[in-house]
């Protein structure tokens, strides 16, 4: 029997009797990272990295989470399990499962370039590799973080010079903290929506160094913070809360902003192309480095990406999961 199998509840390991990122309630769940499509409510026991666990507790409430360090080996039933950096968000992991010499890696979400915040991606040799394909099309190619940081800071500087508040839409877990590290504090103060500041507080409490921010709650006096940039979830852009800041420009930071049509639909004024997922060449290099022959493709452009991999000589197949889906755009892209 294969080390990992695919069931209606999620990716399952018969030898260890556990699931990886299951979407139905099960007894024992190994979780790659805290995003909502991977870490769901209702599992009996959770296992995640020590870095990912605090945010999961914050999001899932009082649940039983056992933690493991990157690279540490655990024996679960007949399976040997370890977690390895996926570079997606702080604490995110690829989960390696070995049963009787057969090695599988379920990578969750990942990116291969460093972001200065998450532990950098490490390739893990395996026979079977489960990959995402959120941006699995050759039109997606990310520029370096420095280039995007300069674009965002230029935009912010322009807003500040015109006495406008800069509103930057981004996701609360991962993207927001990464953007904070890219902003030039000499331009002005960084304000945050409560949803983002709550996540910041969790990360600061666990010792992750983050840029200084001011929570933009209901009692904030906007005039006291001229030249500010406000980080907010996309749903808060243009809301009554946002309008209280007076003259403003809005932008959105996401890999989807690479496509003009999507940007014009989603973003207010500007779109910055920055993602916590691998781009086309990142996906291919990650797959190549695993040395795996068998590739299972989850959320994203699964059909197209799988066809390409097969043509390039891999043994690839589409894996129907409930990752991403409608929310692929909404969560952390």
């Amino acid at each position: 029997m294969a080390a990992l199998t695919f069931t209606p509840s999620g990716i399952y390991c018969p030898a260890g009797d556990f699931y990886i990122d299951p979407w139905k309630p099960v007894d024992r769940a190994l979780i790659t990272h805290g995003h909502a499509d991977h870490a769901r409510w209702g599992m009996g026991h959770y296992l995640a990295t020590d870095i990912a666990a605090p945010v999961m507790r914050h999001r899932l409430g009082d649940v039983s989470i056992d933690t493991v360090r990157y690279g540490e080996t655990r024996r679960i039933g007949g399976a040997t399990v370890s977690f390895h950096p996926a570079g997606h968000v702080p604490g995110s992991a690829q989960i390696r499962v070995e049963v009787g010499g057969e090695v599988w890696v379920a990578s969750g979400d990942y990116k291969v370039v460093g972001d200065g915040l998450s532990t950098p991606f490490e390739p893990v040799k395996c026979h079977h590799f489960i990959t995402e394909s959120t941006f699995g099309l050759p039109v997606f190619r990310w520029q370096s973080q420095d280039v995007i940081a300069a674009q965002i800071n230029d935009w912010w500087r322009g807003c500040a010079a015109n006495d406008k508040t800069a509103f930057l839409g981004c996701y609360a877990l991962g993207k927001a903290q990464r953007l904070m590290s890219m902003l030039d504090p000499d331009i002005g103060p960084i304000l945050t929506h409560t949803a983002i500041e709550n996540t910041n507080a969790v990360m600061r409490a666990q010792g992750i160094p983050l840029a200084a921010t001011i929570q933009a709650g209901g009692d904030l006096v906007h005039k006291d913070h001229p030249g500010a940039i406000v980080l907010a979830p996309p749903s808060a852009l243009g809301s009554a809360w946002a309008r209280k800041f007076g003259p403003q420009e809005t932008a959105f930071a996401s890999g989807w902003m690479a496509v003009r049509g999507i940007r014009r639909r989603r973003a207010g004024d500007r779109g910055f192309v920055i993602s916590d997922h691998a781009d086309w060449s990142g996906l291919l290099s990650a797959i190549r480095e695993t040395g795996a022959e068998n590739i299972y493709v989850t959320h994203g452009y699964t059909d197209i990406f799988t066809r390409y991999l097969n043509e390039q000589g891999w043994n690839a197949q589409v894996l129907q999961t409930e990752f991403g889906g409608e929310d692929a755009e909404e969560d952390a892209a």
């Binding site: 099309l137 050759p138 039109v139 997606f140 190619r141 989807w256 690479a258 496509v259 003009r260 049509g261 999507i262 014009r264 639909r265 207010g268 004024d269 500007r270 779109g271 452009y301 197209i304 066809r307 390409y308 043509e311 889906g325 409608e326 755009e329």
Partner: protein, 530 residues
């Protein structure tokens, strides 16, 4: 190209008209003159001829990107734009160039005359030296169909600012068939050139849709009502013994409607008429279906000319005796128009579009209800003392259209959209009942909110039964009200009918699929309105 790319970015990255106009004004003050002229040309739909066919471009792009052609073809509908797909798949540039917009356009114009290998070398070299935005713009010039988020109105405003002219004059100057390759900046914006003036149309005045109670317009005596015809809006110019026919989209259509040449036999030089081009038969306007045969034909065979003769149904007079008449109040223009066109022989290709007399609003509402019988789409309401304005302006002209026809139909196929809607399902096929079968009868793309499109997209993903390329067959579960403007018999459709302007007017969450309409219902509509 860098300056043009910067202008494009400034326009494309803002939703604010003030920002767009400022960027354009600055560009018109500082860019080289030839670049300015080409920018105006491009933004007003005058682009150079397509120099390379799109099949070759796709092949070359896939080759340079090192990907199989099928992968390029899969990515294209997701991006929704060919020029952009190419710009995105190519590797980053390895050199840099400073050539301006007009350099590239001139090079593209010459490209038509060289052999394909040289053409390919040129395109690949350009791709190697331009960054992603410049490449996108270069590809747009290559492939045509340049649509940016700037209206003619905004461009005209910026141009007026940059030149110190007034907007109306600038709008008039930009009309007509000037050639960006030959015209100079001074000729386009300052000089008075009688030869260029002869064919130049006036900017059309466009009405807003009216959906209020007509009583809100005040005293009925202040208003003139006309039928709103379902044809092609056209401007007929008779000057210096020649005639010109312009469409609302500023397309010169003179050769498409040769029957209008005879207007010169009946109407003096120095006359410009605004009206509707309609197929005419049995002493009355014919349905749009009759005109349809003539649309898209550059030349007209004799047979068609007699089968579907076209006239201009005139409703406004813009120039008379060689004098711009647009500032005269409508009642004065109308009185003169009636003198000019009221007594033409029956075989003249110009006829007077009648007014619809009424003395009370409710009386007019009754007449409006009979519009379909008159082959009209509703009524036009025009203020009697109004001048002929430029572009779409609120207040003096209203189109008061009939309510559309509607039918409740079941969604059976879905396909993702393009451009702005690249990752939503927006193109749907709808069916009605024929016994126990669902027969597809129309597609529709618009009418839902973004939120509804998002909802239906999520539903489609979970309820796909089968895939045929980009098309997905979905479980018959949702009923939509389809609104449309007209219906005609069609042998090309399985259902035997074709609809005009179908769109989704309502998502009928309240209706189970059994309660959708049937083919019999459609056929009944065909008998009544077809």
């Amino acid at each position: 190209m860098k300056r043009f790319a910067a202008l494009f970015n400034a326009i494309d990255q803002s939703t604010k008209t003030t920002v767009k106009v400022a960027a354009l004004t600055d560009y018109f003050l500082t860019a080289p003159e030839e670049d300015r002229i080409w920018t105006i040309a491009i933004f007003s739909g005058r682009r150079p001829k397509r120099a390379v066919n799109s099949t070759r471009l796709r092949e070359w792009a896939a080759e340079v990107a090192g990907i199989p052609l099928w992968l390029f073809e899969e990515a294209y509908p997701i991006v929704g734009d060919l020029a952009e797909t190419i710009a995105l798949v190519l590797p980053l540039p390895d050199t840099d160039t400073d050539h301006g917009l007009s350099h590239w356009i001139n090079a593209l114009r010459n490209l038509a005359n060289v052999e394909e290998p040289a053409r390919k070398d040129f395109v690949l070299e350009a791709w190697r030296s331009l960054d992603t935005t410049q490449r996108f713009l270069f590809n747009k010039l290559l492939t045509g169909g340049f649509r940016v988020g700037v209206s003619q109105k905004l461009m005209t405003r910026a141009l007026a600012r940059a030149t110190g002219k007034n907007e109306a004059e600038m709008a008039h100057r930009l009309m007509g068939d000037w050639d960006p390759a030959r015209i100079t900046w001074a000729q386009l914006t300052v000089d008075d050139d009688p030869a260029a003036n002869a064919s130049r149309p006036y900017p059309f005045y466009l009405a807003y849709a009216f959906d209020d109670a007509p009583e809100s317009l005040g005293n009925p005596e202040d208003w003139q009502a006309e039928w709103k015809w379902d044809g092609i809006r056209g401007q007929l110019i008779l000057r210096d013994g020649a005639h010109y026919v312009w469409s609302r989209g500023e397309e010169l259509m003179t050769d498409r409607f040769p029957e209008l040449a005879r207007a010169l036999d009946f109407i003096p030089n120095g006359t410009v008429l605004d009206g509707e081009l309609l197929a005419w038969g049995d002493g009355a306007p014919q349905s749009f279906n009759a005109l349809q045969k003539r649309i898209g034909r550059k030349t007209v065979p004799k047979k068609l000319l007699s089968e579907a003769p076209v006239i201009l149904y005139a409703y406004d007079l813009l120039e008379w005796g060689g004098v711009d008449y647009r500032q005269e109040p409508l009642e004065v223009r109308r009185a003169t128009l009636e003198e000019v066109c009221g007594n033409l022989p029956t075989d003249a290709p110009v006829k007077l579009s009648p007014t619809v007399p009424f003395d009370a609003w409710e009386h007019l509402a009754d007449q409006r209800a009979t519009a379909r019988a008159a082959q009209a789409e509703g009524l036009m309401l025009k203020r009697r003392d109004s001048p002929y304005l430029t572009g779409r302006k609120k207040g003096d002209w209203w189109k008061w259209k009939l309510d559309p026809l509607t039918i409740d139909a079941v969604m059976i196929y879905a396909q993702s959209g393009h451009g702005r809607r690249a990752n939503l399902f927006t193109d749907f096929t709808f069916a009605v009942w024929n016994g126990n079968d669902l027969v597809p009868f129309t597609k529709a793309y618009s009418g839902l909110t973004d939120e509804e499109f998002r909802k239906i997209t999520a539903w489609v993903k979970k309820n796909t039964q089968q895939r045929f390329g980009p098309v997905r067959q979905v479980t018959p579960e949702h009923v939509f009200e389809i609104a449309f403007e007209g219906i005609q018999a069609s042998s090309r459709h399985k259902s035997g009918v074709a609809l005009r302007f179908p769109r989704m007017s309502r998502w009928r969450h309240d209706k189970p699929i059994q309660e959708a309409n049937s083919l019999d219902d459609l056929n009944e509509m065909l008998n009544t309105y077809g």
